[in-house]
């Protein structure tokens, strides 16, 4: 199990991570979501031992990861723009990774066929998507205990994304691999991740199991006979509220039954509870936090 305990990280003078506490369960797909510059890649680099935290601990099974050979052996990091040696081919890169990780040759060739890549073609001749596929292929064939993918879906076409999700699901089932993915493509993450963490300005805003988090947020649309008064909703844990005369749109956190009972007591003409998407949740959280900062200022 991976744990972040009160982790702080500065890049230069800028604080990138601030008191991050996080637990990544084994055998799951963990999604890291957040705005640009929220600290997702930094978190992955801390996890892979590239960066050392300035405060707190990053642990794997209770051991610090940084410069720890046995921990790093279990982690493979594929960055958003992976490095390849001068004029190297996929076969060359495979040979390089083979020295460090136990690459399953059969799996490698199976995926090579699936992704339709030429292993003897220099990687510089590959398109961005093909290069991405090539490195994901290597990561999957290496089957480490933790596979870290930065901006995993970047450059992949929908068919490849589907293949990729299927392969990861198989790997988790077969080899008990855990995958930690950072991505902006929240639609892809929603039906793929078991748990997630939402980062904002270097802190964890929300984390937990994907289903629980999504069922805890509700998108509500209501219409009233009279003009809507914002004070009516003070009892609720509102993320965002949009009032348009007699119509109100709400994003509310909390137990669905309790919220419904309360809202029905306001005697609305229309009351609708709509399912929330991860992308919506992310946007509403970001808007909510930015408004809170505005109010504080």
């Amino acid at each position: 199990m991976i744990e972040f305990q009160h982790v702080y990280k500065f890049l230069g003078k800028k604080q990138v991570l601030q008191d991050v506490n996080l637990t990544v369960p084994d055998g799951s797909v963990f999604g890291l979501i957040g705005e640009n510059g929220a600290g997702k890649s930094t978190l992955l680099r801390l996890l892979s031992g590239i960066y050392q935290c300035d405060g707190g601990k990053v642990l794997l099974d209770g051991e610090r990861i940084y410069d720890n050979r046995s921990c790093k052996q279990q982690i493979l990091f594929i960055s958003d723009d992976p490095f390849q040696f001068f004029h190297s081919t996929l076969a060359d890169m495979k040979r390089f990774y083979q020295d460090w990780y136990d690459i399953d040759e059969a799996l490698y060739y199976r995926y090579l066929k699936l992704f339709q890549l030429d292993e003897h073609e220099p990687l510089t001749n590959f398109s961005k998507g093909m290069k991405r596929q090539a490195f994901i292929l290597l990561g999957l064939a290496a089957a480490p205990r933790y596979l870290l993918l930065d901006e995993a879906f970047d450059g992949l076409d929908p068919i490849m994304r589907r293949h990729f999700k299927q392969i990861i699901a198989d790997q988790i089932a077969d080899k008990k691999m855990s995958v930690i993915i950072s991505s902006h493509d929240l639609k892809e993450l929603q039906d793929f991740c078991d748990s997630f963490a939402m980062l904002e300005n270097g802190t964890i805003q929300t984390s937990g199991l994907m289903n629980e988090a999504l069922s805890d947020i509700h998108h509500i649309q209501m219409a009233f006979l009279t003009e809507v008064n914002p004070e009516w909703f003070q009892e609720l844990d509102i993320i965002t509220m949009q009032i348009n005369s007699r119509v109100v749109k709400l994003y509310v956190k909390g137990d669905e039954a309790r919220i419904r009972t309360y809202l029905e007591s306001l005697k609305p003409l229309v009351l609708e509870l709509l399912p929330v998407q991860l992308e919506e949740m992310f946007i509403q959280e970001v808007i909510h936090n930015k408004e809170a900062v505005h109010h504080e200022l």
Partner: protein, 484 residues
Amino acid sequence: MSYEIAYCKWIWRHNKRLFFTYLLTAVTLLLLPQLLFPYQSNRNSFPPLYWSCMAMLLINMALAMLMPLYQFRYLMNKRSVDLFYPLPIKKTRLFGLNYAFGAACICIPNVLFLFSFLWTSEINAYIPTYLVLTAMFALMSLMLYATITFFVMKCNSFLDACFAAVAVVLVQLLLVTSCMALLNNVIREISRSGGNINEFFQTGYLGFSPIMIGFEWLSDLPEAATDYMQNGGNILALWLKEADFNSFQPIVYLFVTVGFSIAACRAYGKRKGEDSEQKTTSKLVYPMFSSLITCSLLLYDSLSASFFWFAAVLFFVMNSLAERKLTIRPKMLGFLFYGGMLFLVSNLMIETNGFGRIREFYEPEDIQSVLVEFHFYEDRENDFDASYETSYLLMDEYQEDQKLIEQVTALHRQATKETENGEINYMNGTVMVNYVLKNGRNAYRYFSISEREEATVARLKQYLKQQKYSQGEIIIDESYGEDE
């Protein structure tokens, strides 16, 4: 350990083509001089393998500069750091393996050079000398390699690393050259009738630059070889004496090599993953090197305005390179102001006669022996065209005759004083004196004599005629304007 072996295997696999190319180049460069300048027994001036030795020194030094850049270039790129840092190997071992590969590449040409002895049968007598030279060159290259590696570890971009590598070598050469130039200027100013650095200062400042020491050692080899050809003996012993080889030197080099290697390893360990592609902020790179290079240039000729401007412009260029933009800060101007004050050092040295070390004259009691050569220009019937030069080669070896020493030093003082006062109207001749001092050093003086010294010269001539060691008068050239 398997990961270390895996990494070694990878280094080998990744670099083997380049390595073989390098090996071929090194072999060609080492053997080519031997093929172009084959050994000849009557050739006294250049001993066998001299040019190969020169090539080896250059290869060693070039590699010492290039290998740290090549082996640690991955640290200067964010993407390659993302690939190498997560590998399951300790950072210090990753450093160690890369460092060892670089060191091996430096040592291989030296081993090749040793093997090249085998097919040159004529050089048997030279083998111990070349063994010492090869070992010393390898050690000096490793010292330079360790030093540059340490500074490369302090850099965050490849351009900065290149600057550091060049600066390490440049600073060494500049410091030595500038020290020599400063001391020469001071000596010239104080001792108008001659004198050189070795007379007053030990050549310890050469120690700043292994490259210069290497060339110095090589330049001493032909002289030792000539001595060996003429008098026989042990060529190694002759060379060691000629090169003023100090057995303490290898220990110092070894100490510096180990010290910088450890420092480089620690600097690597402290390097952060996020450092790559950032501005290099270590005070040991741009601030130190730009200051040292500027100071060296100012030392070279601190009284020349053009040199000051050149040094100032170079200083700003180096600082702009560090910032990647043209920057002028009050701190920089302050540095240049104080740097410009270095001319005070020259003046101070001149005023204090090199802090009391530089002497124009030596007292007779300081002198062990003397060798004098007179050249007189004698006028025939007051006609310059008909004048001729007479040389008195009075002695062919150093004399310890106390009276001679006294008369020569008196003449030296008198003639130099007149030259300083501008009292010479007509030059009668020149005198070259070699003094061997009781402290073991040598001094060389060259001065002109005029008719004012006639009485002193006459006394000296009179005295010399009575001495056994006197060789008499030799007319070197009697044909100024006359065909005999």
